[in-house]
């Protein structure tokens, strides 16, 4: 199989599409939460936005595990 891009997408869209949806979905949910809050357990808004956007999957997971506070304003 040659790895030309269009062929690759045609061959693997049944997996790539759900993966992309999950990754982007997770990122958007994390971003929504970041922008709805002004305070975090640590760090600031810019830092968390960068982490969530740059590191797919790991970024949002890190945000929901360590960044998001437990009270309603965090």
């Amino acid at each position: 199989m040659d790895l030309n891009e269009t062929q690759f997408l045609i061959d693997y869209w049944p997996t790539l599409l759900p993966v992309a949806i999950l990754e982007v979905g997770l990122m958007l949910v994390a971003l929504k939460h970041i922008f709805q809050h002004t305070r975090y357990r640590f760090g600031n808004r810019v830092m968390w936005v960068v982490i969530v956007v740059v590191f797919q999957i790991i970024g949002p997971v890190a945000y929901f595990t360590w960044g998001k506070g437990t009270t309603s304003d965090e």
């Binding site: 199989m1 790895l3 997996t15 999950l22 997770l26």
Partner: protein, 253 residues
Amino acid sequence: MRTLPVFFKKELLETWRTRRFGVLAVVFLLFALMSPLAAKLTPDLLRLSLGTAVKLPTPTSVDSWTQFYKNISQMGIYIIAILFGGTVSRELTDKTLVNLVTKGLPRWAVIIAKYLCLLGQWLVVVASAFFITWGYTTFYFSDRQSPHPIAACLPLLVFGAFFLAVVLFGSTWGRHTYEGLLFTCLVMAILFLAKLLKQAHNFNPVSLIGDNVAILQGNLSLTKLFPAMGVALGLTLILIVSSVALLNKKALV
């Protein structure tokens, strides 16, 4: 007895609202989706970096399942430990149990409800991930090299039940999430060290996440792991009872 369902409901609501269940589900679904893909693409990726001259075996369904069990046993369970490591200790530091316990919620109900909630989440995410990987594996690899997928997954489910009890006990014992995590890592380290003892292999709970691919291929019978399952479930019971005993002794304020 009526208090148990109430606290269980509170636990379900908490894991939903704190988005822990969402994160867990998305991560496990990604593992499930990417395992067959990774198996299919690894030879091509290697060829791209090593050159076309390299002869590599064609990937099979076994590679896909190997990826699946590797992802879950090397990353999945630690993500669970990180997400749920504070399940009891956070309630103690935030003093959120005080009102409930003084109003008559028995402490054992706290532990049992938390454990059942964790177990339920584990079964749901692992079963979904398993069926997705199964579907994609049969879709991408039409070989007959993996005849026993369900028997191979069973030990993983049992190991999860044991692992969650370890996380729960660690969380009850530790004053902070990190102490609980430390306990979980320590238990895993001891179990992996015990793997060096070949005679104890069939009794070691860690074999439940190490022998899945052999069972899948039919090289190992599931019955060989029954002792390990027994040990794992026995330890689960001991850990839960000890967690209740520990929480009974802890000061809530």
